[in-house]
Symmetry: C2
Subunit: 346 residues, 2 copies
DNA sequence: TTGTAAGCGTTATCAA
DNA sequence: TTGATAACGCTTACAA
């Protein structure tokens, strides 16, 4: 069933059918009703690619999740702490504007080319990139070519002018500051920090937040209290080992990700210390497991839902109305206090 | 940049460009090379909707996840235990055939209409439905209309002839049997079962599996040992309460989902019983949390990866070569023994 | 208010 | 081995 057939049945021209479908004003009520009746009767739906070819936007957005650069299949699941909530929230928002979302995980198998092609062949009219550290150059190239996109959590590129784009970023510094300050307010003085990957901006910024809170409390910044992980659970385990090996004064640890916090907890339990009685732990991200593990994990929540809606909303605006210049949006963080942190007894 | 311009630069016709792009045989090497050179130079990529309109398949598959019929936002996250792994695995497999995956969560906001439209307007050439209990009628209608689709875990429709379709199902009975038998082999005799939603086939089949193992071991089936939940954590909690209220003989519980098992564990801990020392628990699904919760949960793993690859593979086959009649595939289950189950001391 | 006709960028058919 | 031309199904000036 196509517009030609509908036109014939309704005894009008194809353009009239099109006008009815697209809700144009200059159609008499009578004709409109007649056409709508036939359309309903035969269940006619305009073909997407034909509309698209004729100039209509295809209302399709790509959401690209770059998988962390590890081989293990396990890690993909970890990354999915982000994937599913983000994709779902993005869908919710896209729906309101009748957009569809095409999700793509970019990893070793599925290289960046796959994403690029979707822009080139006009399958999508815009894209959102998450965890894109490894593909920054390619993304810049896309922006330079005029493709419309949103980058999540890549604040560091804020001022590099490469063409119009949108960045949505969580307030990493703020979050880390809140986490550390929470421990300070609980009376902790010997507070260690397990950093994330320092090549990633979030890792770097969270370290800054930690330092800010420490300095503000008049405490010294001890290099032996700062150790670098890579956001994974195992690195959290190893970092805790390093921190606690020759130190029995540490009473609080702020880890730059929940996964690392969970790894650290594993080590701490192994050596027979109790959480939170001996050591308080604060994580970052508020992944689902954080509330299920025992003790449940005090952490910093970033509203992925907010991120996703802001990203989708501004991308659609970018696509439909264009923007004058690059935009930079931030999403707030929130401290979620659970069982893994405890007020220190003096 | 379009094929016309490429044709001009390469001093050939548009049809020649098309033939090169589509790797047709009847083109001289010389022409081919020349055209390829220009294509590379100008980064030409054929426009998807134009190809599609001209008759090429658009190589797009829809993956539809029906959200469980509850209002809470929380539940959507639970559902995502399925969502993310399935979507990722599906992508992996689709990649090999250069297909893209369009994911859509169907829930109260996003009704089935959204999915239907994607078929009608030919955005997708086939679809995979997961958790589709609530939309069976609509799915049948799609099948009847000749749309190509795969249904996951809806074994019950195996024999209802409604048109060509593919079902991929996990072996629910087998899995539940394994879970129950595991408890029996550990010496348990008083084994209760928390059923899932009995309106869903998986809930029903797993009860059958439980019964089969019980009967096979020569044990009686006690109705007071069987209680019905609805796959959610809270229903697991309530079911455990019901089961254990007036009973101190039960030593083993098989719950039809990990979420219910987790809820049951919560109740058991609350009344001061120990897991697995006093009561052994076995779940079903092997969601991620199962290995993180303490004690970690013994459960039945269904390889979502297998499900996804079989689904995608057979759907692509259906799309590209058609199938003679409906197909029914099953995916095996595996018992994963962790800490929540223990051999009973006699 | 309606219809005619051109055009979107490809592929497929058929003739050269 | 190549090219001219029609066709895909729709939208959109523009003409009526």
């Amino acid at each position: 069933m196509n517009s030609k057939e509908i036109a014939k049945m309704a005894r009008v021209s194809r353009s009239t059918v099109s006008k009815v479908v697209n809700d144009y004003a200059n159609i008499s009520d009578k004709t409109r009703e007649k056409v709508i009746e036939i359309i309903k009767k035969y269940g006619y739906v305009p073909q997407a690619s034909a509309r698209n070819l004729a100039g209509k936007s295809n209302k399709m957005i790509g959401v690209f999740i770059t998988d962390v650069n590890h081989d293990s299949k396990e890690l993909r699941v970890i990354e999915s702490d982000y994937f599913s909530p983000f994709a779902t929230a993005a869908m919710d928002y896209a729906d309101k504007f009748e957009y569809n979302i095409l999700t793509l995980v970019i990893d070793k198998n599925r290289k960046f080319d796959k994403a690029r092609k979707l822009f080139y062949n006009k399958t999508i009219s815009g894209g959102i990139f998450i965890g894109a550290e490894n593909n920054v150059q390619e993304i810049f190239e896309l922006i330079r070519s005029g493709y419309k996109l949103v980058i999540i959590d890549q604040e560091r590129y804020k001022d590099r002018v490469v063409g119009k784009h949108i960045i949505v970023n969580s307030k990493n510094l703020e979050g880390a500051y809140k986490a550390t300050k929470h421990l300070i307010e609980y009376g902790h003085r010997e507070i260690a920090h397990i950093c994330g990957d320092m090549n990633k901006f979030s890792g770097f910024k969270r370290l800054e937040g930690y330092k800010k809170a420490i300095v503000e409390a008049g405490l010294p910044i001890r290099t032996e209290y700062i150790t670098e992980g890579d956001f994974t659970e195992d690195s959290g385990y190893e970092s805790a080992k390093k921190l606690l090996k020759n130190n029995n004064k540490i009473t609080g640890i702020f880890a730059s990700s929940d996964n690392m916090a969970i790894g650290a907890m594993r080590f701490i339990k192994e050596i027979g210390l109790r959480i939170p009685d001996d050591i308080s732990i604060v994580g970052y991200d508020d992944i689902k497991i954080a509330s299920y593990i025992s003790p449940s994990l005090t952490t910093i929540r970033v509203s992925i839902l907010d991120m996703a809606s802001i990203a989708v909303k501004s991308l659609i605006n970018f696509i439909e109305k264009d923007i004058k210049s690059s935009r930079y949006n931030t999403v707030s963080t929130e401290l979620v206090i659970r069982q893994s942190s405890k007020r220190i007894k003096e």
